[in-house]
Symmetry: C2
């Protein structure tokens, strides 16, 4: 049987209330008694029982806010499933989620969604947002108020966020090059279709990719780099033009959304057989293209786990005062091909 507050109180000859004050640093305990209890806690190897804490804490339930740019972005579907799974598991422990979904990456939209959540009295926040000063400032002021923040999928600089949970973008770019190295249809004439050159994650995927191509001594040439703006229509138009201009291209490296738009060009022009296509993430349209042998491999990042772990981390921090051990939790870089998708 593990040590309890009751046992400590008996050993110290005080009441359980006093032991509780020391354990939780509520103050108002004489120095001698405080010392005595602290020593006992260590000697008797006391750790608070989570079930007891939960039950006592049921009177003041905890609401965790989540802000995601998930409208019209199927990538977030699995993130949300992960959030909800965590909510289900923690429901009996008094936890509920307040999920705020926005469309696009306008900082002002994100800020007002975040402020709305705070107004709804959340006691922790997880966000997937843009890393710009205006957003950083808002988050820092929230953190100052005692609301811990976890960044999902896209990290934040210059903030005291508790931790990041998401993709290792550089590694995922390297892995794409590793796959290409196995396939090896040299010389490679590569068209890079990125989401936005302003997105750090997308750039890391490009840099990791190129670095590994070089390290491996692969014969390649980057025909061009275009931006899809994470939009299938833009992606289609620009890929169409680019493939007309660079007609030697035999490899598409698509770092973000816009996969279906780019692949439509390839299919319409019947270029599947001579084109090696590498993409990221597993949204329904991408999955279909993998199953149709249009895309050779898509590299994924465990979105479900990103949602699930974020909530668990915030809960553990708030209730068990367990700070995360790492400042960045990278989910696995997962290679999916037709057979294991």
């Amino acid at each position: 049987m593990a040590t309890t507050i009751k046992a400590i109180a008996a050993a110290a000859g005080v009441s359980r209330g006093t032991v509780d004050r020391v354990i939780n640093g509520r103050g108002g305990v004489s120095p001698e008694i405080e010392e005595k209890i602290k020593k006992l806690i260590i000697d008797m190897n006391y750790t608070p029982n989570r079930a007891g804490k939960v039950l006592a804490g049921l009177k003041k339930p905890m609401k965790i806010g989540c802000m995601l740019p998930s409208i019209d972005n199927p990538f977030y579907d699995d993130v949300i499933l992960g959030l909800k799974q965590a909510e289900r598991e923690l429901h009996d422990f008094g936890v509920s989620l307040e999920i705020s979904q926005v469309k696009g990456f306008n900082p002002n939209d994100h800020i007002s969604a975040i402020n709305d959540l705070v107004a709804k009295n959340i006691s922790a926040l997880c966000v997937s947002t843009v890393d710009v000063p205006a957003v950083q400032d808002v988050l820092n002021s929230i953190i100052q108020k005692g609301i811990p923040v976890v960044s999902i999928n896209s990290d934040l600089s210059h903030t005291n966020r508790l931790c990041y949970v998401g993709c290792n973008y550089t590694e995922s770019g390297k892995t794409a090059a590793g796959i290409l190295n196995l396939i090896r249809k040299e010389p490679l004439e590569i068209l890079i279709i990125t989401g936005s050159l302003n997105m750090q994650g997308h750039n890391q995927r490009i840099n990791g990719f190129i670095k590994t191509l070089q390290d491996k001594g692969i014969k390649y040439h980057i025909a061009g780099v275009i931006e899809s703006m994470d939009d299938d229509h833009t992606s289609y138009i620009r890929t169409f033009s680019a493939l007309k201009k660079y007609n030697q291209v035999n490899c598409l490296y698509i770092t973000a959304a816009g996969v279906a738009g780019a692949c439509r060009v390839v299919e319409e022009q019947k270029l599947q057989d001579q084109m090696t296509i590498l993409t990221f993430d597993d949204v329904p349209s991408t999955r279909e293209l993998v199953l149709k042998n249009v895309i050779e491999a898509t590299i994924c990042q465990e979105p479900f786990k990103q949602g699930y772990e974020s909530i668990k981390i915030l809960y553990d921090y708030s209730v068990n005062s367990a700070a995360p051990k790492k400042s960045r939790y990278f989910t696995d870089t997962v290679i999916k091909i037709k057979e294991n998708i």
Copy 2:
């Protein structure tokens, strides 16, 4: 606030004890009152609070037994880490693990290890064992005693095990062929090195592999099939002979342990460059060979998760009487290459 036993009792005009009797089917309640309470439970949407259950159940702690053939088998290291992680998380809920490790696959050794666990008064069991009648009988008698059993990593037939948690062997074999299809150095002359032709999982890896090679229309020929007996020394000896005999082999497909032994032959004879090697699992020696570019890809099966989920499933079943929704929980088929291992 969620509905509680107290609320139901008040609504029914009875004591909490009576409500508890109905909820847990302990009997001894008059039919009319039982009906009334059952209706109330549905109408008021009652679900038992786990924290309350846990606290009340702390007086009778729960011991879960685990039997693994893990001695001298590094594959199980991560399975055990997963078991221990679950134990840590459930420690405050009164759960402890009794892990029994054995060496090899002798049914009698497994049976006596299992019986020892039962003698230690475990209330649930997870096992990774051999699927033979003698073992099945022992497990069925244990299950009859009310001890639920989960099979890890290797499934059991003819038993009432609660569920299986482990690899999808057929899919992992297909995935190996999918990788080979991307690499395509036809014509392929393949040497299959399997663990044992008596192991269902190993055979499924072979069958899935060959089926997919055929479906893809890949030009291949199986030079031979040898058994490593999951042992590096045996693997080395037999691979050495086989490569001497079939000197056209340009691909090694290794379905189980014995990877390091087989690869030693390749390295000693400097065949790395002309040999495509596909393996399974991520043990230290395999990982090293992937990083050294000897192995092209190794296909993994989330061993940590296998351990972790097995315990969670047994716990949920025992405490929350939540039967698993599926009879087989397949962990993901994970492709690891140098860049993402």
